[in-house]
Amino acid sequence: MMAAALRLSAALRLVLNGYAVRPQHHARAFCKAPPDDAKPVEEVKESLTKKQQENGDKVIILQRPEDSLIDEKLQQNTKKCEETPMKDRPQAFENDKEEKPEQSYDKKIIFQVNHDHHTNERQEASQMGELPVTEGKHDINTDFSCNEKQVRSEDELTMPQDVTVSASKEEQVVKEHSPVEKSDDRRATAQKKLHDLLTSLASADPIPVEPMVRLSRPKARQKKTGTFKEQKKATEQPTESVIEPELVLATKEVAESLGGDVETTESELLSTLRLHSTSTSCDDKPAIQLSDLFVGMKVERNPRKPVKDLPRHKRYDQDTQQSSPRSGVEYQKMWPRATGRPVPRTLARVELFGTEHLDIFNAKSLECKKEAVPTSTLLPVWEVAHKWELQQSVSHPNDNAFTEMIQWTKQGKLWTFPINNEVGLEEEKSVGFHEHIFLEQHLEGWCPRRGPIRHFMELVCTGLSKNPHLTVERKQAHIQWYKNYFAEKEEILKEIGAIETSQ
């Protein structure tokens, strides 16, 4: 399941990549506006609609064209590699600009794709702690290391569009799913807020605390002179005209197909393109600067990362599990890492509450509500179960006899403190002691005022009042029984004179 999802997102990324890489292709690519240029856009559309419709098939649908695309390119690549002498390969991007601009260009892309895969894998591997990140070990890839920066920048390039795409897609989903359009503008503002947040995620500055990983950077990359002229032309033109009208049209189409706030999407796409085209047009600006522009946008690099990183704490456990007491060597290895490593001391204080807010919730309305409505639990049984589990999770073997007694008390195995001999007599709590003691009142009305029966019944009452084992009901029932008994025997009793006949 997960793997399918990953593949899907990877495929989607590639589609978007393919689209986004194109501006880097030089302006020439846009002048031509070949039919396959439109294809990715359609694919995007297709994928989006498909996504909403069904989950199962889209992986295959999406992946196929992409795979074939890559395969095609790879084949081209190998063919061209065979054609061109070996020495050309590393230098193709730096020196041989004038001779074979087109060829080398194509190759570059392919290399980029390959290299991208390589680096991805490598990075992931190193993140998992399996491989050391050493630049020197890229034996085969050293040829292309000059590309690395560029690859990165291109990869990062996909981000802004990606974000807008996903954001507007989301808008579309929401629109489709909520036919009831109540409070339209409120929703719109909320959408906008979310949108802003997502874009701000993409464009935020890197955090200063984090040390920048200094990868080997290529020298300021000279543009190939074949395209140089065109670019020069482009710089002379006003910025609007840098983007070709076809592209503008395509952008509009994309924006419309994505739905949502069409204008915003369009303008964002355009501005990204514009930004990009200006940066490519400036020859003297090194690639570093381009990458600087998109620092922090590197969001989509490793689609598998979330999954791999999920069991963070678990990974920690595994780490220590591996270095369990038995495997002494591994354990030994762990210590120097934990303690002996030369520590980069960047102990800048972190202000826990000092940063700006996300600004999603409104504090004031929340407080007003808090006073108004006391929250009742929606799922009482769930709460009970959760509380119980929570209780269990903090329990551990008893430290002393007192905690053990607490445990027993809670389980109902012990008398509760303070000691009370009426503990557990729940129904008796509502009964006063006088009801147990003074039972003569139940004789009123039927019992003769004097004589042997009265005498007998008073003895019964005394006896009952001293009995701690009977409830009041039982006592009354007892008296009632005598009442009925004497009522049955009234004739005989009268005969023998036990009951005085009133006269």
């Binding site: 399918a4 999802a5 997102s9 993140q127 996903s166 009831v180 409120r186 909320a190 947040l197 997502l198 605390v209 984090e210 922090g296 990362k305 979330p306 990183d309 069991p311 678990k314 456990d317 270095s323 007491p325 038995r326 002494g328 354990y331 210590w335 934990a338 980069p344 960047t346 102990l347 800048a348 204080r349 826990l352 940063t355 700006e356 807010h357 996300l358 999603i360 919730f361 504090a363 929340l366 407080e367 929606l378 799922l379 769930w382 009970v384 119980w388 269990q392 903090v394 329990s395 073997p397 430290d399 002393n400 007192f402 905690t403 607490i406 008390t409 195995k413 509760t416 403190f417 557990g424």
Partner: protein, 632 residues
Amino acid sequence: MSVNLSSRTSIRLLHSLMKRSSVYSTGILHHGLTTSSQLSTDKIIVPNRIPRSSTAILEALASTVSRDTSGPHYKYHDDPYLTPASNLVKRTFSLSKEAGRKAARCIRDENASLFTHRPDDPFIEDFFPKTSYTEESNVSEETLHDLIQKCSVSDAITVYHICKSKAVELSDKVRQELLELVSYYNCEDPLDKDWVEERWYRQGVLTVRKTWKDNGLAEELFESLSNRGPAAYSALIRGMAQYLQVDRAWQLYQECREKDIPLDAHTYNSLIRVASYLRDAFELRWQLELLTTMAESGIDPNLGTLNSTLEALGQVASWRQARQISLQVLAEFNSLGIQPSLASYYYLLTIHCRERGPISHILIDILDHIEGKEFSSLDVARRVDDLLHTGSNYDLIGDSYKESIYYRHYFGLACSSLTIDDFMLLYQELVPHIYTPEPGVMGEVLRSVGVQEAFEYLPQLWSDMIVFDHTNQERLVTLVLSALSKYRPSQEQEQLTRQLADIAWDIWTRVQGQDETRRQKVSWTGQMIGDLITTLVYCGEYGKASEVMKEANTNAHNVLGAIPITSLHTLNEVAVDKKDADIAVSIVIYALDAGHQEAGEMAKQLQSKLTLSTQNRAKLSSVFGSELLSSP
């Protein structure tokens, strides 16, 4: 004159005394007055009765008893003879004790008909066999309700099925209750509350895969509800989210949004927690959307929302903006008046302190925030330790495994940053009753003892190692020997010398006498034998040293590598001193066999200092050739 002067001074003194006394007397008077007036005016205030729980007295008493570091844990009290020391034995002891309880309960439950005598009043349910439910038993909605309240999942499910087969009408209310229970526990019984040890030793395995039972009872109940309200949806969504059936949960959530069914904050929290498992999850995209939806539909976020948002961030902690956003989230919730809990701080730590990331200061900030001071890394550890032992915080340690990890790291840090004397104070406090060091930690301790030449601790450490079953760890034995070999005895340390000699000899006999069939064996290396010989020689046990040498000579194939020349020299010198030509010759021959270049030198020395018997002479000449011996 002098008298006059003195009288004057005395008068002055008297005067001042008078003054003072008057001050005092009025003071006393005044004081007395005020107290009497207070007595007359103030009312006696009888304090209100404070309602106490039934365990309050016990809790107060328990708080007076702190962990006794000098004795075994309370759970081992019953059987002092078997008080465990090593980790393995501790575990075996506790779990066997619990297994006994389990066996007793099993017998009781299986022979329920025999336990009918009920003298107790009020009735104590725990002492009696559990009622089991079969097709014949008489059940009602009431029974089901009671079982749900007691969280006994399997019984509740059985009763539900009985009700269904007997066509007992069940109300929507009880169905909803059962749905909640079943989706909380995913149709499985939780571990019984009495099996504390099992819970303690069970390693908290966090499964990160879908465990939700598809088309199980929970979904059946959900379908059977006539009116599916927010409660039903919430229960099912929470259950699915908890057991990582994320896609279905998300589907249900979308359904709720379509149908305008309001969900509560907890349900949103559970979704936020797992949203990154969604198939098209981009970084934090869904989490932010969920948060926005919450704000939009006017649902109050709570502490759980904060924690699950941070947890979701923790899942993508390698993302470079995670840190920044985590702080933003914290600030946001702080402004809403939601204070972070320990769990929030935990997620913050996972976000900010990563194995491959830069060092972060955040732990210290968090500590500052939690306890309200200034301080190095060991200090931090101390603070964490203090925090752990504050109040009932120790309850949060988790299970035995996490406890041992905690102490392992604490020890490792202390060992590398404290002097050996200070460290041993800590060691004596915690070992063996609170913490049994793992071999790795022990190795670290031994190494620092060796480096700092604190030989006085070796006897204790060695006896601990015997108790902890560490004597079959070759690495540790090597470390002990190398520490021992550095020892040079002096006059005032006679007892220590004897002890160390005993240790060395103990190691020898242990290793020699170890079971051949044992899987984990210590095998001698040349270095180890060398250290052993050096130690024995310096501790004045020449006889034993020569015995070791003989053994090493005869069974050379059991020893990996050669004995270092320094040890051979040491032994040789003593042998020469004692005029033990046999040993000396064998040493020289061994040195030659081992390829030490100094062998020839030694042979010459031997010849010059000792008068060799013909037999020994023959031996030497057979290996060195006669010209070496004949030359002066």
